[in-house]
Symmetry: C2
Subunit: 349 residues, 2 copies
């Protein structure tokens, strides 16, 4: 058969559909974009032709004419060791799904090690994306300010810690509330000597989470002196910090700024033959894979990443609409996933 000779299928164009349906190109365009402008039977005829030819508007042509790409840029940073990027994975999934609902696709671009702005600049100048989702605002890096100054639409996942008066839209998770929730959960289970293992002071996120532990303790008139430690975000550091705290302050529970640190605590407990949950309680942060599969299960603060994605896309749509709507920043509350490490119970969730 002749049609079997050429395997490469040529996509139908607007004109093809128009010819088949016996109307003009503009009518087909209206059928796609403003169906109410057409008489019902004409609309149906066009739709039939679209179905027959398997027509779908050519993206490049549409993009060129409308000066849009319906693409959202997301910088996919090089994998950092630790559990943090398992969280990113979950977030990206949610974002991709939400973008689909809004008619957008997610474009990944790599983080240049040297210049964090390089990727953004290229995509922007080539008008390859309509907007960005910026995820690494915590370092006080210049992306948000740079994009804002340039007038490029974007929404940040993360508060502008170093510029509280920034006017760009952002969505973040209330880390203090998460740590407070974790601490109160342990208080309810009868613990009073609850230790904190967090990140170094330079991390505003770490300090934010720490403040949640602090406020929960103080709300119950409990002393926190000697019960806090600030270290690097590694398993090893967490293990060492836990050992020191156990020796010097004898806590019965730990709240950690990350699952990584919590794993360190579990390791120290394991070495000392202490049973997580029974002898000493542990709560982590991020509800990573690790928290799910480690023996007894790690109770952990879970970020509502699905909701974060929803809010981000909502703000993107506002920002990209005509006229642009800049919605304010939004803080979402995390939840607590309770497993065996914070008390008795079946360890399989």
């Amino acid at each position: 058969m002749a049609r079997d000779v050429r395997r490469v299928m040529v996509q139908a164009t607007l004109s093809d559909v128009a010819d088949l349906a016996g109307v003009s190109r503009q009518t087909v365009s209206n059928a796609m974009n403003n169906p109410d402008l057409l008489k019902p039977d004409t609309l149906q005829r066009v739709r039939d032709a679209v179905a027959v030819l398997g027509y779908s508007p050519n993206r490049a042509a549409r993009n060129l004419r409308t000066r849009t790409s319906r693409l959202i840029g997301l910088r996919f940073t090089p994998a950092q060791e630790g559990t943090a990027n398992a969280m990113m994975d979950r977030f990206v999934h949610s974002l991709v799904e939400e973008c689909r609902v809004a008619g957008y696709h997610v474009l990944l671009f790599p983080g240049d090690g040297v210049d964090p702005l390089a990727g953004y600049d290229d995509l922007l100048r080539a008008t390859a994306v309509d907007a960005f989702v910026v995820t690494d605002t915590y370092l006080g890096n210049p992306q948000a300010a740079w994009l804002e100054e340039r007038g490029a639409p974007f929404v940040a996942f993360g508060r502008p810690w170093d510029a509280p008066d920034a006017t760009h839209p952002w969505v973040d998770v209330d880390g203090a509330a998460g740590a407070r929730m974790a601490t109160e959960h342990l208080l309810e289970r009868g613990h009073t000597r609850i230790a904190w293992i967090g990140w170094r002071k330079e991390s505003p996120i770490g300090e934010d989470r720490r403040s949640g532990w602090l406020s929960a303790m103080h709300a119950h008139n409990l002393s926190t002196s000697g019960l806090a430690s600030r270290v690097e975000d590694t398993v090893n550091s967490g293990a060492e910090a836990a050992a020191v705290l156990l020796d010097e302050a004898a806590p019965t529970a730990f709240v950690c700024a990350s699952d990584t640190l919590a794993m360190g605590v579990l390791h120290t407990l394991w070495i000392r033959q202490l049973a997580p949950g029974a002898d000493v309680a542990v709560v982590g942060f991020d509800d990573s894979q690790v928290a799910q599969v480690v023996p007894v299960g790690l109770t952990s603060v879970r970020q509502p990443l699905e909701d974060v994605a929803v809010e981000i896309v909502k703000r993107l749509q506002g920002r990209l609409g005509v006229p642009p709507v800049v919605e304010p920043g939004k803080l979402l509350s995390p939840s607590l996933t309770i497993r065996g490490s914070s008390g008795p119970g079946d360890w399989i969730s």
Copy 2:
């Protein structure tokens, strides 16, 4: 200032550059795409103009003219529970980076729960991507066959298990070699009763990995009877299988088809007060986050995902080149990341 009034910057076009450099549009186009066609000083003049105006070719226009998008579609499947998608995360990072080198970007699209082909079809008909990277070929799902029949360029991560004579390009990791490597590592450390915990027979990947364990055991004239178990890929199943095997066959070591199953084994050891590495050795598969952070560290087979990405992009370029080059499938060898669970040693790698 006047320029502060209009924040929205209008991108320079080819014509703008041409005017500034005093040449025609085509010359600028050549300067961007075929620099050798220009006289050096003309080229320099154009390049200066490009730099002054911050010009970058408009993607939509280029895409329209060249009938290309320089976009690679990747279906980002809904997060499956378990450690598998942490591996995907690593893979996507590598892929994004390799695509950058080749001048491509990665476009994510969600997996429609109902019709696995829907997303592919839409992007293809809209000519929104040049090619796909297909990652979930293991289920015997129809994407590969469908894309091939349609003449759509794609490269699969994963062998065509259910169609060994398929002609499309693919890249995969030799799971049998990985399991063999793990088994031989344990044999070297003196173990002879090495058990296997794998997936159900329906999984060709699982059977492939199992065959590696089997061949290593047989190569050393060791019996495998009663030493194998096939279960669901959950922590719980792994734990139960390990308990049964310990009771009935008294193995001194376990090789598992996944880190998830290995975590189950570790849990059973923990319950029975057996020290991983010292009393019983355990090796997992995938070298996930979990393997790194669990106490004593989990020895695990590591897939060379960076190399997989390199090979995939190489095949993509071949497939998209003129004339198209269809390279054969390629099988890559994994490596073994040795940690505490397979024997004595410091558990921090």
